[in-house]
């Protein structure tokens, strides 16, 4: 009996020490909170939208829908963090640029194209915006990897300049695309009741999983993040690997931008994806990843992203005014970060362990 209890408490300790435990626990606590105070939170209804297509709606759908961009960005941010030991704070501005490029390529000089008047296909526009976003990522990457500027300082440049560059790309006009098909990426594809961003996010996760499985990106970024000298002496090129992570983040930015712009079928340079960089960094931190680089757990970051979205949605649900939202969020974030701190977790693991162990002996 005592042996069994011991192994149980050991198991508990093991689980608590797992990196992915904190974001999952946070997710469950938030869900539990909603379950207790308003089980209606979990209601999902199948309705019809204005075009008469079936759509799912409900708070949980909102979470996985609105959390898509953040989850996608968390992927890139995790790699950047792992390899460079720093964060990219320009992703919000970069989304504005990528979105602006997307619209510019689609609309050309005509800022109000009617359906069918688009200059080119969505695919071409998306590819161009990917290239531009990756180029800006590469720019950040060069500053960080070759010139050894601290990532936050290096990306501060684009953070400051990005939104005006985005406005400049479209001559400060705000193009609106009336073609309903453009709205599919951020909304619903007729006949499919699940929001499209969810599929895009899942696709990104699958790609990330495949990349981690079939390449050495994970091993290389971690090795470089932990010990650059050793990595170099083992034949790696730390400069290139750090640079590469910024380019990958650029790609994630382009995908997120597509969703963001499609949601509105337009763009607002100063507001689009505002402060999303901080949420993306937070997602990485909530996932228990060291912001100083090195070992990472991508899935923990992604869950972290959904935790943030769940928190936002929950707060909205309880009619917290959007101005006050950050303050509430901050309180929860402080709690989460404190609990995910290694010292606290170590204590927690012991705390639960020792009484159980004592009981077992008695």
């Amino acid at each position: 009996m005592s042996a069994k209890k011991n192994s149980l408490s050991d198991l508990f300790g093991k689980i608590v020490r797992q990196q992915i435990f904190i974001p999952i626990a946070a997710l469950f606590i938030l869900l539990l909170f909603n379950l207790i105070f308003d089980p209606g939170f979990f209601v999902i209804t199948l309705g019809e939208n204005s075009a008469g297509d079936p759509v799912l709606s409900g708070n949980l759908i909102t979470v996985i829908n609105m959390g898509s961009e953040l989850a996608i960005l968390a992927i890139g941010m995790t790699f950047v963090t792992a390899a460079s030991g720093g964060q990219d704070i320009s992703v919000g501005a970069a989304i504005a640029i990528a979105g602006s490029v997307l619209l510019r390529v689609l609309c050309g000089d005509n800022t109000r194209p009617a359906a069918g008047e688009l200059q080119t296909s969505f695919l071409v526009a998306f590819i161009v915006s990917c290239i531009v976003a990756m180029a800006f990522g590469a720019f950040n990457g060069v500053l960080v990897s070759i010139f050894k500027i601290q990532p936050m300082v290096a990306t501060l440049i684009l953070y400051t300049a990005g939104r005006s560059i985005a406005a400049w790309i479209n001559n400060n006009e705000l193009p609106i695309i009336s073609d309903p098909e453009f709205g599919y990426f951020g909304g619903f594809i007729p006949g499919i009741p699940v929001p499209t961003p969810v599929f895009i996010a899942i696709a990104c996760m699958i790609v990330a999983a495949l990349v981690l499985k079939f390449t050495n990106l994970g091993l290389y970024t971690q090795a470089v993040g932990i010990n650059e000298n050793s990595s170099r002496l083992n034949g790696l090129n730390p400069v290139f690997i750090k640079w590469l992570t910024f380019v990958i983040l650029g790609l994630c930015v382009a995908v997120a931008a597509l969703i963001k712009v499609s949601r509105l079928s337009s763009i607002n340079y100063s507001v689009i994806a505002k402060d999303i960089e901080m949420d993306a960094i937070l997602a990485v931190a909530l996932g228990g990843n060291a912001l100083s680089g090195g070992k990472f757990n991508l899935w923990a970051s992604i869950i972290g992203a959904y935790v943030i979205q769940l928190l936002t949605t929950t707060l909205f649900k309880y009619e917290v005014p959007s101005d006050a939202l950050p303050a509430y969020k901050a309180v929860v974030v402080i709690l989460l970060v404190v609990f995910s701190a290694p010292t606290v977790r170590e204590k927690l693991a012991h705390l639960k362990k020792s009484p159980a162990a004592k009981k077992g002996v008695a």
């Binding site: 499985k213 390449t215 050495n216 971690q222 090795a223 170099r232 002496l233 790696l236 070992k295």
Partner: protein, 504 residues
Amino acid sequence: MSEGALLELRGIYKSFPGVKALQNVDFNLRKGEIHALMGENGAGKSTLIKVLTGVYTKDEGDITLDGQSVNIRSPQDAQHMGISTVYQEITLCPNLSVAENIYIGRSDNVIQNWKEMFSGAEKMLKALDIPAEATAQLASCSIAVQQMVAIARAVDMDCKVLILDEPTSSLDDQEVQKLFKLMRDLKERGVGIIFVTHFLDQVYEVCDKITVLRDGKLVGEYPIKELPRVELVSKMLGKELDDMSEIKTHDVVKDDDDSVPVIYEAEGLSSTEGIKPFDFHIKKGEVNGFVGLLGSGRSECVRAIFGADRVLSGTVKKNGKIVKIQKPIDAMKNGIAYLPEDRKVDGIIGELSVKDNIILALQVMKGFFKPLSKSEAEAFAAEYIDMLKIKTASADTPIKSLSGGNQQKCIVARWLLTHPEYLILDEPTRGIDVGTKVDIQKLVLKLAEEGMSITFISSETDEMLRTCSRLIVMRDRKVVGELKGEDLTQSKIMSTIAGGEVQS
């Protein structure tokens, strides 16, 4: 309590999950005694010291200091009681002045009297005969002086017990002598010194007593005169040791034997690290080495061979063909492997698992798009953990939680896994326990017998003499001689390093 006893530890127990680190350990230190604490890595030396300095709390046992039973709960406690520690890594602030480092964090006053501080520091440096200016920035002093400043700081805090944890591993001989002089001065003043080191020579030079630990248990306490070296080593290992003499029985590949092909050849090689262009070659199955004082350029030479520093000039031939080696990956692709001198800075990837550390080099050679499968990686790791007898809880344990010797074995495993033709080992035995040292030397000779060419560098000349059949002597970043055959003696090496008349 016996006369003159300063510190007594009785029946100390300490365990960690799954490990009994200390079991019923006793330790005695008298006033004015230099006491060596010896044992292999993992024998419990570090744990004992950490118990003594309050980093860990003991599970059981009594500590008596100056006749009073004490309970040390934190490093601050230990410091207040007069137990000071100087670690292998300097734990001072390099960007502050020497004086600031001595006084930092010790005054409760808000206002610091700088004049007094500097003059106080100046006085102390003089009293302890430390060659440093109180106003100099610490980083501008040599490592040895920094170490001495750390000791000065400890001494000034009225320390009764001074613990020196591997203070000499990054010092050269002269610096070690200076440190020893300081230790003897302190001994005269009645300070009890606990000295932890892997260098047997140093133990016999400066210590009065030796306490040996093995597997967390006390083996015994011996006056230095009653314990010859061989016995000390066998006590540390727990077996009679003929191993050392067994080494060096293999058929030495003669450098002049023309039937043996040259594996690697360099002409006029130089790098950004300021070594004079040098020529070098190694034959199949040969073990050679670079000797010279610390800073003579021996590491820089092998780093140039591996492309670890930027190569400035020279032609390199591998198996007779001219190849370009500019970066480590070039060398690796040419079958050259390099175990770097500084394990922590250049070798291990601390947070990664033993497994990932072992497969890293092979993985990099295979390429970005060809990761080893999980089962392959696990099989490789298991094979080498078994072959090199790496002590680790599992292949997934982070390498940084292993002892130094086992970390080093992992790095050796990493390179063996790439099946190199030419293996460079730069100080593979530094800071690791005697048992592993012997293992590594044996391994070198075994690999050479199997046809691998090896360059071996060690600060301990007897290790070099035991393993190498040809030695390249370095002085002031220049190759000054080459010794082989009957010239391979300690005195010949010394005279070549010092005078260097022998030109080859």
